[in-house]
Symmetry: C2
Subunit: 153 residues, 2 copies
DNA sequence: ATCACTATTGCGACTCACTCTCAATTATTG
DNA sequence: CAATAATTGAGAGTGAGTCGCAATAGTGAT
């Protein structure tokens, strides 16, 4: 089905990110290793926000010799160049998300551990206002709402 | 200066919290130990949000034999009964705050590590709305804005 | 294709914040 | 004051993540 640009299925974002990885590496004199390519691909195919262990579990299915240390290292370098995002929710462990999507915050379902992304421009605005009123510039923020399914009645 | 109820200086909240500690202990069959009293007093006299190590440092000045394990344990039990609050900001370590003050979120000055509390009812409302729209009840939230002093120009 | 160069990897040792175990201590109740 | 059991201090243990190092493998030049 050539020319069918609308498909967003498996591997959707991947090519895009793989290209970015290559650019980044060239630019920074880093190497495009199998490990980096695979780890980034698997992360970008993950619709959830896996932690290092879970990500490693998925990576190993495809390339058994990749160590978890490499997963950690890859997340660190790629995060520092903005290719992926790291979040730390209430359980204290880092979870990762392929970059590229527009900014959003998270609902965390405490019963299922599921993460739901949301975006609220009013809140973004209010933040800016608050920081501004206190004489600050914003360098970042963290916003999570911990929730559970509404009790029907 | 008897009758001068306005003074909010050293020990302001303390008597209040010490009473709560005693009530809590009686109610739960826990003991009102020197350690608990001192740790809670020192925390409630701390205008900042010390982590366990810093809190322990302050505690030890008054009672050198109190161990850091006891600080951790005390924070855990008191938090579980709502007498204090635990926050984990970007550095990943727990920081503590004596309870009793009304709900607020935090600005974190990334340059000085200073914590500034703020409260924004609009944001609280928006949160509820967001959770509601997704079919959830809120069980908690975390909201921090990381900032730095505005660059004057 | 081969080489030289050096970034990256896998491994296991290590760190750091925090928790647990356990014998000794001490608050509480009678 | 004695009996009871919660609490403590000390140090060992835990778990996520980092680090040092020898072996491996991208990369650009030949």
């Amino acid at each position: 089905m050539p020319g069918d640009e609308k498909t967003q299925e498996a591997g959707g974002m991947t090519d895009n990110l793989e290209k970015k990885l290559e650019e980044l590496c060239k630019e920074k004199g880093m190497r495009v290793t199998e490990q980096r390519r695979i780890i980034l691909k698997i992360l970008s195919d993950s619709p959830d926000h896996p932690n290092a262990e879970e990500l490693h579990r998925r990576v190993v299915r495809l390339a058994p010799s990749i160590s978890i240390a490499t997963v950690y290292r890859t997340m660190n370098t790629l995060e520092s160049y903005g290719l992926i995002e790291r979040h730390i929710f209430a359980d204290g462990r880092a979870r990762y998300e392929a970059g590229g999507s527009e900014h959003h915050d998270h609902l965390v379902n405490v019963e299922t551990d599921e993460i739901i992304e949301f975006r609220c421009d009013e809140i973004e605005e209010l933040q800016k206002k608050i920081a501004d009123e206190h004489g600050f510039d914003i360098v970042g923020h963290r916003f999570e709402i911990y929730v559970r399914a509404k009790k029907r009645r």
